[in-house]
Symmetry: C2
Subunit: 276 residues, 2 copies
Protein backbone atom coordinates (compact mmCIF):
# COMPACT_ATOMS: atom_id res chain seq x y z
CA UNK A 1 0.00 0.00 0.00
CA UNK A 2 1.17 3.49 -0.79
CA UNK A 3 0.45 5.66 2.23
CA UNK A 4 -0.89 8.79 0.60
CA UNK A 5 -1.78 10.91 3.62
CA UNK A 6 -1.37 10.60 7.39
CA UNK A 7 -5.02 10.06 8.34
CA UNK A 8 -5.78 7.45 5.68
CA UNK A 9 -6.44 3.95 7.09
CA UNK A 10 -6.06 0.79 5.01
CA UNK A 11 -9.35 -1.13 4.58
CA UNK A 12 -9.69 -4.48 6.45
CA UNK A 13 -9.32 -7.50 4.23
CA UNK A 14 -8.93 -5.59 0.97
CA UNK A 15 -6.04 -6.17 -1.48
CA UNK A 16 -5.30 -3.34 -3.87
CA UNK A 17 -7.36 -0.14 -4.21
CA UNK A 18 -7.34 1.28 -7.76
CA UNK A 19 -8.88 4.67 -8.64
CA UNK A 20 -10.19 5.25 -12.18
CA UNK A 21 -10.30 9.00 -12.83
CA UNK A 22 -10.48 11.38 -15.75
CA UNK A 23 -10.49 15.04 -14.82
CA UNK A 24 -13.10 15.64 -17.54
CA UNK A 25 -16.55 14.09 -17.50
CA UNK A 26 -18.06 12.03 -20.30
CA UNK A 27 -14.82 10.50 -21.59
CA UNK A 28 -15.82 6.96 -20.58
CA UNK A 29 -14.34 6.69 -17.09
CA UNK A 30 -17.29 4.69 -15.69
CA UNK A 31 -17.28 2.48 -18.79
CA UNK A 32 -13.58 1.72 -18.25
CA UNK A 33 -14.04 1.19 -14.48
CA UNK A 34 -16.87 -1.31 -15.00
CA UNK A 35 -15.04 -3.20 -17.74
CA UNK A 36 -11.82 -3.29 -15.71
CA UNK A 37 -13.71 -4.71 -12.73
CA UNK A 38 -15.40 -7.35 -14.90
CA UNK A 39 -12.12 -8.27 -16.61
CA UNK A 40 -10.38 -8.74 -13.22
CA UNK A 41 -13.33 -10.80 -11.99
CA UNK A 42 -13.18 -13.05 -15.09
CA UNK A 43 -9.53 -13.74 -14.26
CA UNK A 44 -10.76 -15.22 -10.98
CA UNK A 45 -10.16 -12.30 -8.60
CA UNK A 46 -12.68 -11.09 -6.01
CA UNK A 47 -13.50 -7.59 -7.11
CA UNK A 48 -15.37 -4.68 -5.48
CA UNK A 49 -16.59 -1.65 -7.41
CA UNK A 50 -17.46 1.63 -5.68
CA UNK A 51 -19.22 4.48 -7.51
CA UNK A 52 -17.74 7.63 -5.96
CA UNK A 53 -19.44 9.88 -8.53
CA UNK A 54 -21.91 11.14 -5.94
CA UNK A 55 -23.62 13.75 -8.17
CA UNK A 56 -23.97 11.43 -11.17
CA UNK A 57 -23.93 7.76 -10.07
CA UNK A 58 -23.93 5.63 -13.25
CA UNK A 59 -23.16 2.15 -11.92
CA UNK A 60 -26.75 1.09 -11.24
CA UNK A 61 -27.66 1.74 -14.92
CA UNK A 62 -24.43 0.28 -16.32
CA UNK A 63 -24.80 -2.97 -14.40
CA UNK A 64 -28.58 -3.09 -14.75
CA UNK A 65 -29.19 -3.42 -11.05
CA UNK A 66 -31.27 -1.69 -8.43
CA UNK A 67 -32.29 -2.48 -4.89
CA UNK A 68 -31.36 -1.30 -1.44
CA UNK A 69 -28.19 -2.70 0.16
CA UNK A 70 -28.86 -4.34 3.54
CA UNK A 71 -27.06 -3.73 6.84
CA UNK A 72 -25.53 -6.63 8.82
CA UNK A 73 -23.56 -6.31 12.06
CA UNK A 74 -23.48 -2.51 11.64
CA UNK A 75 -21.92 -2.73 8.18
CA UNK A 76 -23.52 -2.07 4.80
CA UNK A 77 -23.47 -5.19 2.62
CA UNK A 78 -22.66 -4.31 -1.01
CA UNK A 79 -24.97 -5.66 -3.75
CA UNK A 80 -23.59 -8.60 -5.79
CA UNK A 81 -23.96 -8.59 -9.55
CA UNK A 82 -22.08 -10.31 -12.40
CA UNK A 83 -19.58 -11.56 -9.78
CA UNK A 84 -18.81 -8.06 -8.42
CA UNK A 85 -19.53 -6.47 -5.04
CA UNK A 86 -20.97 -3.06 -5.91
CA UNK A 87 -21.90 0.05 -3.94
CA UNK A 88 -23.29 3.33 -5.26
CA UNK A 89 -25.30 6.28 -3.96
CA UNK A 90 -27.62 5.46 -6.83
CA UNK A 91 -28.89 2.49 -4.78
CA UNK A 92 -30.09 4.89 -2.10
CA UNK A 93 -31.80 7.48 -4.31
CA UNK A 94 -34.32 7.56 -7.17
CA UNK A 95 -33.05 8.29 -10.69
CA UNK A 96 -34.47 11.80 -10.95
CA UNK A 97 -33.45 13.04 -7.53
CA UNK A 98 -30.55 15.50 -7.76
CA UNK A 99 -28.01 15.28 -4.98
CA UNK A 100 -27.79 18.96 -4.07
CA UNK A 101 -25.18 18.63 -1.37
CA UNK A 102 -22.16 20.71 -0.53
CA UNK A 103 -18.61 19.38 -0.12
CA UNK A 104 -18.64 18.34 3.56
CA UNK A 105 -21.69 16.08 3.11
CA UNK A 106 -20.16 14.48 0.02
CA UNK A 107 -16.94 13.85 1.92
CA UNK A 108 -18.87 12.22 4.75
CA UNK A 109 -20.66 9.91 2.34
CA UNK A 110 -17.41 8.87 0.68
CA UNK A 111 -15.79 8.05 4.02
CA UNK A 112 -18.85 5.97 4.93
CA UNK A 113 -18.79 4.07 1.65
CA UNK A 114 -15.17 3.15 2.29
CA UNK A 115 -15.10 2.46 6.03
CA UNK A 116 -18.69 1.24 6.74
CA UNK A 117 -19.25 -1.03 3.73
CA UNK A 118 -18.10 -4.65 4.13
CA UNK A 119 -15.44 -4.93 1.42
CA UNK A 120 -13.61 -7.78 3.19
CA UNK A 121 -12.30 -10.47 0.90
CA UNK A 122 -11.91 -8.29 -2.20
CA UNK A 123 -8.57 -8.61 -3.99
CA UNK A 124 -9.19 -5.42 -5.94
CA UNK A 125 -11.44 -2.50 -5.02
CA UNK A 126 -12.05 -0.32 -8.11
CA UNK A 127 -13.13 3.26 -7.41
CA UNK A 128 -15.05 5.13 -10.14
CA UNK A 129 -14.19 8.77 -9.39
CA UNK A 130 -16.26 11.85 -10.30
CA UNK A 131 -14.89 14.41 -12.80
CA UNK A 132 -12.86 17.29 -11.43
CA UNK A 133 -10.25 17.57 -8.68
CA UNK A 134 -12.33 18.76 -5.72
CA UNK A 135 -13.85 17.54 -2.46
CA UNK A 136 -14.57 13.97 -3.53
CA UNK A 137 -11.01 13.32 -4.75
CA UNK A 138 -9.41 14.93 -1.69
CA UNK A 139 -11.65 13.08 0.76
CA UNK A 140 -10.91 9.84 -0.98
CA UNK A 141 -7.16 10.24 -0.84
CA UNK A 142 -7.45 11.22 2.83
CA UNK A 143 -9.66 8.26 3.75
CA UNK A 144 -7.83 5.33 2.23
CA UNK A 145 -4.39 4.66 0.76
CA UNK A 146 -4.74 4.38 -3.04
CA UNK A 147 -2.43 1.78 -4.60
CA UNK A 148 -2.76 3.07 -8.12
CA UNK A 149 -4.71 5.37 -10.38
CA UNK A 150 -5.71 5.03 -14.05
CA UNK A 151 -6.53 8.18 -15.98
CA UNK A 152 -9.07 7.93 -18.84
CA UNK A 153 -9.21 10.45 -21.66
CA UNK A 154 -10.40 10.92 -25.25
CA UNK A 155 -7.94 12.18 -27.88
CA UNK A 156 -9.44 15.70 -27.87
CA UNK A 157 -7.34 18.57 -26.49
CA UNK A 158 -10.13 19.61 -24.12
CA UNK A 159 -10.15 16.17 -22.50
CA UNK A 160 -6.35 15.89 -22.46
CA UNK A 161 -5.89 19.16 -20.56
CA UNK A 162 -8.25 17.91 -17.84
CA UNK A 163 -6.60 14.47 -17.85
CA UNK A 164 -3.24 16.16 -17.23
CA UNK A 165 -4.79 18.07 -14.32
CA UNK A 166 -6.11 14.80 -12.89
CA UNK A 167 -2.72 13.18 -13.27
CA UNK A 168 -0.93 16.09 -11.59
CA UNK A 169 -3.42 15.86 -8.73
CA UNK A 170 -2.43 12.23 -8.12
CA UNK A 171 1.22 13.22 -8.17
CA UNK A 172 0.51 15.91 -5.56
CA UNK A 173 -1.37 13.37 -3.43
CA UNK A 174 1.50 10.84 -3.89
CA UNK A 175 -0.72 8.24 -5.61
CA UNK A 176 1.17 6.08 -8.15
CA UNK A 177 -0.35 6.47 -11.63
CA UNK A 178 -0.49 3.28 -13.72
CA UNK A 179 -1.06 5.14 -16.94
CA UNK A 180 -3.49 6.68 -19.43
CA UNK A 181 -6.26 4.82 -21.29
CA UNK A 182 -7.51 6.56 -24.44
CA UNK A 183 -11.19 5.98 -25.16
CA UNK A 184 -13.18 6.84 -28.33
CA UNK A 185 -9.87 6.72 -30.17
CA UNK A 186 -11.28 5.98 -33.58
CA UNK A 187 -14.52 4.97 -35.26
CA UNK A 188 -14.76 2.16 -37.83
CA UNK A 189 -17.63 2.77 -40.24
CA UNK A 190 -19.62 -0.51 -40.05
CA UNK A 191 -20.65 -0.35 -43.72
CA UNK A 192 -17.04 -0.68 -44.89
CA UNK A 193 -16.67 -4.49 -45.13
CA UNK A 194 -19.89 -4.97 -47.18
CA UNK A 195 -18.92 -2.19 -49.60
CA UNK A 196 -15.40 -3.60 -50.04
CA UNK A 197 -16.83 -7.05 -50.77
CA UNK A 198 -19.21 -5.64 -53.36
CA UNK A 199 -16.33 -3.68 -54.93
CA UNK A 200 -14.35 -6.91 -55.36
CA UNK A 201 -17.29 -8.40 -57.20
CA UNK A 202 -17.72 -5.31 -59.38
CA UNK A 203 -14.02 -5.45 -60.29
CA UNK A 204 -14.31 -9.05 -61.43
CA UNK A 205 -17.26 -8.11 -63.71
CA UNK A 206 -15.40 -5.20 -65.33
CA UNK A 207 -17.49 -2.31 -64.00
CA UNK A 208 -16.63 1.37 -64.65
CA UNK A 209 -13.11 2.03 -63.31
CA UNK A 210 -13.60 5.72 -62.36
CA UNK A 211 -16.74 5.00 -60.35
CA UNK A 212 -14.99 2.15 -58.51
CA UNK A 213 -11.97 4.35 -57.85
CA UNK A 214 -14.12 7.03 -56.21
CA UNK A 215 -15.78 4.42 -53.94
CA UNK A 216 -12.35 3.09 -52.95
CA UNK A 217 -11.18 6.63 -52.27
CA UNK A 218 -14.21 7.36 -50.05
CA UNK A 219 -13.47 4.18 -48.05
CA UNK A 220 -9.74 4.85 -47.75
CA UNK A 221 -10.46 8.36 -46.50
CA UNK A 222 -13.43 7.77 -44.20
CA UNK A 223 -13.73 4.08 -43.21
CA UNK A 224 -11.62 4.73 -40.11
CA UNK A 225 -12.32 8.17 -38.61
CA UNK A 226 -10.92 10.07 -35.67
CA UNK A 227 -14.01 12.05 -34.62
CA UNK A 228 -12.52 13.10 -31.28
CA UNK A 229 -8.97 13.61 -32.56
CA UNK A 230 -5.96 11.34 -33.00
CA UNK A 231 -2.92 10.28 -31.01
CA UNK A 232 -3.45 12.69 -28.11
CA UNK A 233 -3.37 9.97 -25.44
CA UNK A 234 0.02 8.60 -26.49
CA UNK A 235 1.50 12.08 -26.76
CA UNK A 236 0.26 13.13 -23.35
CA UNK A 237 1.47 9.90 -21.71
CA UNK A 238 4.95 10.55 -23.09
CA UNK A 239 4.85 14.22 -22.06
CA UNK A 240 3.77 13.40 -18.50
CA UNK A 241 6.12 10.44 -18.21
CA UNK A 242 3.48 7.75 -17.65
CA UNK A 243 2.49 4.52 -19.42
CA UNK A 244 0.00 4.41 -22.30
CA UNK A 245 -2.34 1.54 -21.42
CA UNK A 246 -4.23 1.24 -24.71
CA UNK A 247 -6.99 2.47 -27.00
CA UNK A 248 -10.71 1.73 -27.00
CA UNK A 249 -12.64 2.45 -30.20
CA UNK A 250 -15.81 4.54 -30.31
CA UNK A 251 -18.46 1.94 -30.90
CA UNK A 252 -22.27 1.92 -30.63
CA UNK A 253 -22.08 -1.45 -28.84
CA UNK A 254 -20.07 0.07 -25.98
CA UNK A 255 -22.72 2.75 -25.56
CA UNK A 256 -25.68 0.39 -25.77
CA UNK A 257 -23.94 -2.02 -23.38
CA UNK A 258 -23.64 0.77 -20.82
CA UNK A 259 -27.29 1.83 -21.19
CA UNK A 260 -28.66 -1.71 -20.99
CA UNK A 261 -26.70 -3.03 -18.00
CA UNK A 262 -24.61 -5.57 -19.98
CA UNK A 263 -21.19 -3.94 -20.38
CA UNK A 264 -18.87 -5.27 -23.05
CA UNK A 265 -15.69 -6.49 -21.48
CA UNK A 266 -13.46 -5.07 -24.13
CA UNK A 267 -10.22 -6.90 -24.82
CA UNK A 268 -8.17 -3.68 -24.67
CA UNK A 269 -8.96 -3.24 -21.02
CA UNK A 270 -6.95 -6.31 -20.13
CA UNK A 271 -3.74 -4.35 -20.59
CA UNK A 272 -3.97 -2.62 -17.22
CA UNK A 273 -4.95 -5.89 -15.63
CA UNK A 274 -1.58 -7.46 -16.26
CA UNK A 275 -0.04 -4.25 -14.95
CA UNK A 276 -2.10 -4.41 -11.76
Amino acid sequence: HASNTPQSRPLDGVGKVIAVASGKGGVGKSTVAVNLALALSKLGHNVGLLDVDIYGPSLPTMLGISGRPSVKERQIVPLEVQGLKVMSLGFLMDDDTPVIWRGPIVSGIIRQFLQDVDWRGTDYLILDLPPGTGDAQLSLAQSVPLDAAIVVTTPSDLALIDAARGLQMFKTLKVPVMGIVENMSHFHWPGGPAVREALAKLKSTGADKDAMASITKALDTYEKMHIFGQGGGQKEARRLGTAFLGEIPLSPEVRSGGDSGLPIVSGDIDNPVSQA
Copy 2:
Protein backbone atom coordinates in the same frame (compact mmCIF):
# COMPACT_ATOMS: atom_id res chain seq x y z
CA HIS B 1 -35.49 38.51 -13.21
CA ALA B 2 -36.57 35.43 -11.34
CA SER B 3 -35.55 35.84 -7.74
CA ASN B 4 -34.24 32.40 -6.95
CA THR B 5 -33.03 32.78 -3.39
CA PRO B 6 -33.18 35.51 -0.77
CA GLN B 7 -29.54 36.51 -0.73
CA SER B 8 -29.06 36.68 -4.49
CA ARG B 9 -28.40 40.19 -5.87
CA PRO B 10 -29.00 41.17 -9.49
CA LEU B 11 -25.82 42.22 -11.33
CA ASP B 12 -25.46 45.95 -12.22
CA GLY B 13 -26.09 46.75 -15.84
CA VAL B 14 -26.67 43.17 -16.95
CA GLY B 15 -29.76 42.06 -18.91
CA LYS B 16 -30.57 38.36 -18.73
CA VAL B 17 -28.44 35.69 -17.03
CA ILE B 18 -28.70 32.26 -18.69
CA ALA B 19 -27.13 29.11 -17.22
CA VAL B 20 -26.07 26.28 -19.55
CA ALA B 21 -25.90 23.06 -17.54
CA SER B 22 -25.86 19.33 -18.13
CA GLY B 23 -25.67 17.23 -14.99
CA LYS B 24 -23.25 14.90 -16.80
CA GLY B 25 -19.86 15.99 -18.10
CA GLY B 26 -18.63 15.59 -21.65
CA VAL B 27 -22.02 15.96 -23.37
CA GLY B 28 -21.05 19.22 -25.07
CA LYS B 29 -22.26 21.78 -22.56
CA SER B 30 -19.28 24.14 -23.07
CA THR B 31 -19.58 23.71 -26.84
CA VAL B 32 -23.25 24.75 -26.67
CA ALA B 33 -22.54 27.65 -24.27
CA VAL B 34 -19.81 29.08 -26.53
CA ASN B 35 -21.91 28.71 -29.69
CA LEU B 36 -24.97 30.22 -28.00
CA ALA B 37 -22.91 33.21 -26.88
CA LEU B 38 -21.46 33.68 -30.38
CA ALA B 39 -24.90 33.33 -32.00
CA LEU B 40 -26.37 35.98 -29.67
CA SER B 41 -23.42 38.26 -30.35
CA LYS B 42 -23.86 37.86 -34.14
CA LEU B 43 -27.47 39.04 -33.71
CA GLY B 44 -26.05 42.31 -32.36
CA HIS B 45 -26.38 41.75 -28.60
CA ASN B 46 -23.61 42.50 -26.06
CA VAL B 47 -22.76 39.10 -24.60
CA GLY B 48 -20.70 37.98 -21.61
CA LEU B 49 -19.52 34.39 -21.11
CA LEU B 50 -18.43 33.09 -17.70
CA ASP B 51 -16.72 29.70 -17.29
CA VAL B 52 -17.97 28.44 -13.93
CA ASP B 53 -16.40 25.01 -14.46
CA ILE B 54 -13.70 25.70 -11.87
CA TYR B 55 -12.11 22.23 -11.92
CA GLY B 56 -12.06 21.96 -15.72
CA PRO B 57 -12.13 25.41 -17.36
CA SER B 58 -12.44 24.87 -21.14
CA LEU B 59 -13.20 28.37 -22.44
CA PRO B 60 -9.60 29.51 -22.92
CA THR B 61 -8.97 26.54 -25.27
CA MET B 62 -12.31 26.78 -27.04
CA LEU B 63 -11.91 30.48 -27.82
CA GLY B 64 -8.19 30.21 -28.46
CA ILE B 65 -7.29 32.93 -25.98
CA SER B 66 -4.96 33.32 -23.06
CA GLY B 67 -3.73 36.25 -21.06
CA ARG B 68 -4.36 37.67 -17.60
CA PRO B 69 -7.41 39.90 -17.10
CA SER B 70 -6.55 43.37 -15.79
CA VAL B 71 -8.06 45.18 -12.78
CA LYS B 72 -9.53 48.68 -13.14
CA GLU B 73 -11.25 50.68 -10.38
CA ARG B 74 -11.25 47.59 -8.15
CA GLN B 75 -13.08 45.45 -10.72
CA ILE B 76 -11.73 42.67 -12.90
CA VAL B 77 -12.02 43.54 -16.59
CA PRO B 78 -13.07 40.47 -18.64
CA LEU B 79 -11.03 39.58 -21.75
CA GLU B 80 -12.66 40.44 -25.10
CA VAL B 81 -12.55 37.91 -27.91
CA GLN B 82 -14.71 37.34 -31.01
CA GLY B 83 -17.05 40.11 -29.74
CA LEU B 84 -17.59 38.45 -26.33
CA LYS B 85 -16.57 39.48 -22.80
CA VAL B 86 -15.09 36.31 -21.29
CA MET B 87 -13.92 35.30 -17.81
CA SER B 88 -12.52 31.93 -16.72
CA LEU B 89 -10.33 30.55 -13.94
CA GLY B 90 -8.27 29.17 -16.81
CA PHE B 91 -6.92 32.71 -17.36
CA LEU B 92 -5.44 32.67 -13.86
CA MET B 93 -3.85 29.20 -13.89
CA ASP B 94 -1.56 27.18 -16.17
CA ASP B 95 -3.04 24.32 -18.20
CA ASP B 96 -1.55 21.52 -16.16
CA THR B 97 -2.25 22.88 -12.71
CA PRO B 98 -5.09 21.01 -11.00
CA VAL B 99 -7.42 23.10 -8.90
CA ILE B 100 -7.45 20.99 -5.73
CA TRP B 101 -9.87 23.09 -3.74
CA ARG B 102 -12.78 22.20 -1.52
CA GLY B 103 -16.30 23.57 -1.82
CA PRO B 104 -16.02 26.79 0.20
CA ILE B 105 -13.09 28.09 -1.90
CA VAL B 106 -14.91 27.25 -5.13
CA SER B 107 -17.98 29.09 -3.89
CA GLY B 108 -15.90 32.14 -3.03
CA ILE B 109 -14.37 32.19 -6.51
CA ILE B 110 -17.78 31.95 -8.17
CA ARG B 111 -19.16 34.83 -6.10
CA GLN B 112 -16.11 36.90 -7.07
CA PHE B 113 -16.47 36.13 -10.77
CA LEU B 114 -20.06 37.36 -10.62
CA GLN B 115 -19.86 40.36 -8.30
CA ASP B 116 -16.27 41.62 -8.88
CA VAL B 117 -16.01 41.31 -12.66
CA ASP B 118 -17.25 44.29 -14.69
CA TRP B 119 -20.12 42.79 -16.67
CA ARG B 120 -21.89 46.14 -17.12
CA GLY B 121 -23.48 46.66 -20.52
CA THR B 122 -24.02 42.99 -21.32
CA ASP B 123 -27.49 42.11 -22.59
CA TYR B 124 -26.92 38.40 -21.96
CA LEU B 125 -24.51 36.78 -19.49
CA ILE B 126 -24.07 33.09 -20.39
CA LEU B 127 -22.83 30.85 -17.56
CA ASP B 128 -21.07 27.59 -18.50
CA LEU B 129 -21.75 25.38 -15.44
CA PRO B 130 -19.64 22.45 -14.23
CA PRO B 131 -21.11 18.91 -14.27
CA GLY B 132 -22.95 17.75 -11.16
CA THR B 133 -25.34 19.45 -8.74
CA GLY B 134 -23.02 20.49 -5.92
CA ASP B 135 -21.30 23.51 -4.44
CA ALA B 136 -20.78 25.45 -7.68
CA GLN B 137 -24.43 25.21 -8.73
CA LEU B 138 -25.74 26.09 -5.27
CA SER B 139 -23.38 29.06 -4.86
CA LEU B 140 -24.37 30.31 -8.26
CA ALA B 141 -28.08 30.24 -7.58
CA GLN B 142 -27.48 31.93 -4.24
CA SER B 143 -25.30 34.70 -5.70
CA VAL B 144 -27.31 35.90 -8.65
CA PRO B 145 -30.89 35.52 -9.92
CA LEU B 146 -30.83 33.19 -12.93
CA ASP B 147 -33.34 34.17 -15.63
CA ALA B 148 -33.24 30.84 -17.42
CA ALA B 149 -31.39 27.55 -17.72
CA ILE B 150 -30.69 25.34 -20.72
CA VAL B 151 -29.91 21.66 -20.13
CA VAL B 152 -27.61 19.87 -22.61
CA THR B 153 -27.61 16.10 -23.03
CA THR B 154 -26.68 13.33 -25.46
CA PRO B 155 -29.30 10.69 -26.37
CA SER B 156 -27.68 8.04 -24.13
CA ASP B 157 -29.58 6.91 -21.02
CA LEU B 158 -26.58 7.63 -18.80
CA ALA B 159 -26.56 11.27 -19.91
CA LEU B 160 -30.35 11.62 -19.77
CA ILE B 161 -30.56 10.47 -16.14
CA ASP B 162 -28.04 13.15 -15.15
CA ALA B 163 -29.80 15.76 -17.31
CA ALA B 164 -33.05 15.00 -15.47
CA ARG B 165 -31.22 15.47 -12.16
CA GLY B 166 -29.91 18.83 -13.38
CA LEU B 167 -33.38 19.87 -14.49
CA GLN B 168 -34.92 18.88 -11.16
CA MET B 169 -32.21 20.89 -9.38
CA PHE B 170 -33.26 24.03 -11.28
CA LYS B 171 -36.89 23.38 -10.37
CA THR B 172 -35.91 23.10 -6.70
CA LEU B 173 -33.93 26.35 -6.98
CA LYS B 174 -36.92 28.01 -8.77
CA VAL B 175 -34.93 28.73 -11.94
CA PRO B 176 -37.08 28.70 -15.14
CA VAL B 177 -35.81 26.02 -17.56
CA MET B 178 -35.93 27.01 -21.25
CA GLY B 179 -35.53 23.45 -22.44
CA ILE B 180 -33.26 20.58 -23.45
CA VAL B 181 -30.68 20.63 -26.28
CA GLU B 182 -29.62 17.19 -27.56
CA ASN B 183 -26.03 17.03 -28.75
CA MET B 184 -24.25 14.23 -30.68
CA SER B 185 -27.72 13.18 -31.87
CA HIS B 186 -26.57 11.39 -35.01
CA PHE B 187 -23.49 10.94 -37.17
CA HIS B 188 -23.51 11.31 -40.97
CA TRP B 189 -20.81 9.17 -42.56
CA PRO B 190 -18.95 11.69 -44.73
CA GLY B 191 -18.17 9.10 -47.46
CA GLY B 192 -21.86 8.66 -48.27
CA PRO B 193 -22.34 11.32 -50.99
CA ALA B 194 -19.31 10.22 -53.04
CA VAL B 195 -20.37 6.56 -52.90
CA ARG B 196 -23.96 7.42 -53.91
CA GLU B 197 -22.68 9.45 -56.89
CA ALA B 198 -20.45 6.57 -58.03
CA LEU B 199 -23.39 4.17 -57.67
CA ALA B 200 -25.50 6.33 -60.01
CA LYS B 201 -22.70 6.14 -62.58
CA LEU B 202 -22.38 2.35 -62.15
CA LYS B 203 -26.14 1.94 -62.62
CA SER B 204 -26.04 3.87 -65.90
CA THR B 205 -23.24 1.56 -67.17
CA GLY B 206 -25.12 -1.64 -66.29
CA ALA B 207 -22.87 -2.97 -63.51
CA ASP B 208 -23.65 -6.12 -61.48
CA LYS B 209 -27.06 -5.62 -59.78
CA ASP B 210 -26.38 -7.74 -56.63
CA ALA B 211 -23.15 -5.92 -55.89
CA MET B 212 -24.83 -2.54 -56.29
CA ALA B 213 -27.73 -3.62 -54.11
CA SER B 214 -25.40 -4.58 -51.28
CA ILE B 215 -23.65 -1.17 -51.47
CA THR B 216 -27.03 0.58 -51.37
CA LYS B 217 -28.04 -1.57 -48.39
CA ALA B 218 -24.84 -0.70 -46.50
CA LEU B 219 -25.50 3.00 -47.09
CA ASP B 220 -29.19 2.82 -46.14
CA THR B 221 -28.28 1.04 -42.92
CA TYR B 222 -25.17 2.91 -41.83
CA GLU B 223 -24.91 6.31 -43.58
CA LYS B 224 -26.76 7.96 -40.70
CA MET B 225 -25.84 6.38 -37.34
CA HIS B 226 -26.98 6.96 -33.78
CA ILE B 227 -23.75 6.12 -31.91
CA PHE B 228 -24.97 7.61 -28.63
CA GLY B 229 -28.58 6.48 -28.97
CA GLN B 230 -31.67 7.96 -30.58
CA GLY B 231 -34.59 10.16 -29.59
CA GLY B 232 -33.78 10.31 -25.87
CA GLY B 233 -33.73 14.11 -25.69
CA GLN B 234 -37.25 14.55 -27.13
CA LYS B 235 -38.64 11.81 -24.89
CA GLU B 236 -37.10 13.28 -21.74
CA ALA B 237 -38.29 16.82 -22.62
CA ARG B 238 -41.85 15.49 -22.93
CA ARG B 239 -41.56 13.47 -19.72
CA LEU B 240 -40.23 16.43 -17.72
CA GLY B 241 -42.66 18.91 -19.31
CA THR B 242 -40.05 21.19 -20.88
CA ALA B 243 -39.30 22.37 -24.43
CA PHE B 244 -37.03 20.46 -26.82
CA LEU B 245 -34.70 23.11 -28.27
CA GLY B 246 -33.09 21.07 -31.05
CA GLU B 247 -30.46 18.55 -32.12
CA ILE B 248 -26.78 18.98 -32.92
CA PRO B 249 -25.07 16.24 -34.95
CA LEU B 250 -21.85 14.52 -33.87
CA SER B 251 -19.32 15.99 -36.26
CA PRO B 252 -15.52 16.06 -36.36
CA GLU B 253 -15.66 19.77 -37.28
CA VAL B 254 -17.40 20.62 -33.99
CA ARG B 255 -14.67 18.82 -32.07
CA SER B 256 -11.80 20.37 -34.04
CA GLY B 257 -13.43 23.80 -33.76
CA GLY B 258 -13.45 23.44 -29.98
CA ASP B 259 -9.83 22.32 -29.82
CA SER B 260 -8.55 25.03 -32.14
CA GLY B 261 -10.30 28.06 -30.67
CA LEU B 262 -12.60 28.67 -33.67
CA PRO B 263 -15.99 27.30 -32.60
CA ILE B 264 -18.56 26.57 -35.29
CA VAL B 265 -21.64 28.65 -34.68
CA SER B 266 -24.12 25.99 -35.49
CA GLY B 267 -27.45 27.04 -36.94
CA ASP B 268 -29.38 24.80 -34.53
CA ILE B 269 -28.30 26.88 -31.59
CA ASP B 270 -30.34 29.83 -32.77
CA ASN B 271 -33.50 28.12 -31.54
CA PRO B 272 -32.93 29.07 -27.94
CA VAL B 273 -32.00 32.57 -28.98
CA SER B 274 -35.48 33.39 -30.20
CA GLN B 275 -36.78 31.89 -26.97
CA ALA B 276 -34.47 34.05 -24.88
